[in-house]
Every structure is written in structure tokens, then in C-alpha cells.
Symmetry: C2
Subunit: 113 residues, 2 copies
């Protein structure tokens, strides 16, 4: 959890929200879920199967993504189907991939933090 600090400029507050937005995509499991859901609507079991992680982990990360507004869900019989709630996320991903492609050497990230 993020701590709440007292004296923050508007810009800083805005930046914190954007940072949280990016945080949503900064975890491999979550990003993998988002990628899969960009292809098609899927239920939890399908995601568990496709990603090869525990049901618990997938459900937890789905809850996170849902809370953050990346995905929405609807119950269909005994399944819960998830899908991406904002198509523009696809564009963000495409752009990120383009940037990473041109910086392949570099982006592997910090040895220090």
C-alpha cells in the first residue's frame, strides 16, 4: 500500500495516479492477463490454464486489475468472464512494445533497485 503524505502539489498528486496506472501493467502476471484478454474474453479457469499460475494468484491479480479499471467481469453460469474495459490499453501495449524493441539492449532494468 501507498502511504498518504500530507503536503503534495497537484502535479505530484496527479503523477501518483498515473504511476498507479502504470503499476497495473508492471507485474508479469497481470500484464500476461491483460495481453490474453486483449485477444478475447476469458474465464478464470482458462486464464489459469493459459498462464500456468495458481487459481489463487490469477484471481488475486484479476481483482487488482478490476479494481484499477483495466478489466470488467460478468458471471455466466458457473464461470466468470473477464474482458478489457478500455480498448486503448491495446494501444499502450503496442507503443510500449515498439519502444522496447528499439531499446532491447537497455530495458532489462535496474540492478540496483
Amino acid at each position: 500500500m501507498q502511504s498518504v503524505s500530507v503536503t503534495h502539489s497537484d502535479a505530484a498528486v496527479q503523477t501518483e495516479i498515473y504511476a498507479k496506472f502504470f503499476h497495473g501493467l508492471s507485474n508479469p502476471t497481470r500484464l500476461r492477463i491483460v495481453e490474453m484478454l486483449l485477444d478475447r474474453e476469458m474465464n478464470v479457469s482458462q486464464l489459469v490454464e493459459a498462464i500456468g499460475a495458481s487459481q489463487s494468484l490469477i484471481s488475486n491479480q484479476l481483482a487488482c486489475l478490476k479494481w484499477c479499471g483495466y478489466v470488467t467481469s460478468r458471471q455466466e453460469g458457473k464461470y466468470v468472464l473477464y474482458r478489457i474495459s478500455d480498448e486503448r490499453v491495446r494501444t499502450v501495449l503496442q507503443l510500449a512494445k515498439a519502444i522496447v524493441a528499439d531499446n532491447a539492449e537497455h530495458i532489462r532494468c535496474c540492478t540496483r533497485m
Copy 2:
């Protein structure tokens, strides 16, 4: 640090790299630095002043951003000037802001993780 796991599909490996890309923008201090540098080249002292964080923190996060390829630096006299190394980062930020704007209610992020 991220742990290295042994059995990972190509897709999973790619996803990890993209996750790292987003991780770069997922910290308020780092994102603030990136935003400032999108405006203009700045030295460390200027960033410290503008952001209102310790010199140590700014330097540490700059090292992170540099390692990840977000920024480059050049020495000029006793100052070290930093700038954004890939202009497309600006587009990523703009897109993120547009998405967040339309999901203002939602994106405040996980109470749970």
C-alpha cells in the same frame, strides 16, 4: 530484484520485459522525473529542487531510469544534464492520461496488493 525462473515460454519472457518497461513508470518519483524531463533537459539539482525530494533519491531514481534506457545524461561542467532518450515516451504518457481521465473513479488502485 526480479527472480529468474527456469521454465518460461517465449511469450512469458517477452511479457516480463514489457512489465519491466512499465515498472519504470510505476513509481511516483521516477514518473515525476520523466514528466519534468519531457519539458526540458535538466540537471540533478534542478530536479531535486523542482520535485522536492532528496538528492540521493533523485540520483538513485535517475540511475534506474538511465539503466532502463528512459533517459541519457551528459556532463556539462560541474553539472550533469539529463534528458529523455525516446520521445515516444511522451505519447505513452499522453495516452495513459487520456485513459485515466476516463476512469478517474476507478484508478486509485488495489486496496489489496
